[in-house]
Subunit: 132 residues, 2 copies
């Protein structure tokens, strides 16, 4: 056969077996045909779809957005404005998180830079957590 077990698919895509089953339950992957012994039997189309999901997850898209992207990807003739909008929303979200984390990093670095390694009573870090 040219079919893949769920374990094969997991190895090829780097997505854990449990996560593949989870994506199926969430409606991101179609239910594959089963073997006589009730094992899932995947084909190349399933692997491509899962790879799409994984790349989208790696870019931080949520499962709802990925469902939408998959739907859009299936309609070849439609304009890609909606795809663009989803990507833009995701970029905005990523930039918001970077801004938050950059502020945290600055404060943590500053706290650590002032640490004189003495007792907790005089600790700059504790002092700032208590309210500067």
């Amino acid at each position: 056969m040219s079919t893949l077990s769920i374990g094969d698919l997991a190895r090829r895509t780097g997505v854990p077996v449990e996560t593949i089953r989870y994506y199926e339950r969430m409606g991101l992957l179609p239910k594959p045909p089963r073997t006589e012994g009730n094992y899932r039997a995947y084909e190349a189309g399933h692997e491509r779809r899962l790879a799409f999901v994984k790349r989208s997850r790696d870019l931080g898209f949520g499962l709802d957005a990925i469902r939408a992207l998959l739907d859009l990807a299936d309609g070849a003739d439609r304009p890609c404005g909606e795809v663009d909008a989803l990507a833009r929303d995701q970029l905005a979200e990523v930039e918001r998180k970077i801004a938050d984390l950059t502020a945290m990093r600055a404060e943590l670095q500053d706290m650590l830079g002032h640490c004189r390694n003495d007792t907790v009573a005089d600790c700059e870090i504790i002092g700032r957590l208590r309210g500067k």
Copy 2:
């Protein structure tokens, strides 16, 4: 009275009422005394402690780390090496997240930069999600 209701405390600290009750259940805040009508009655010490928790959360510390920081903050005479270590761990975590998000941002920006706003079939974004 100089005591605060949970709503007062929420307004003063910017921490939602439900979250304050949650922190109490999680052992981050001591159980406050109650009024006759079974309302929580907070004092200044509670407000300081909650402010400490909030500042720590704003820096991204997890609740376990905050519990540890609170314990350390109470022992004034001990050296602050453990505090330092917790802050360093947190900084490393923040830097890891920034690195991940920065890579996502670059890829999203690149995808959007190549979008020629035509049909989904030729869409650069979809194309890259499918596997470049």
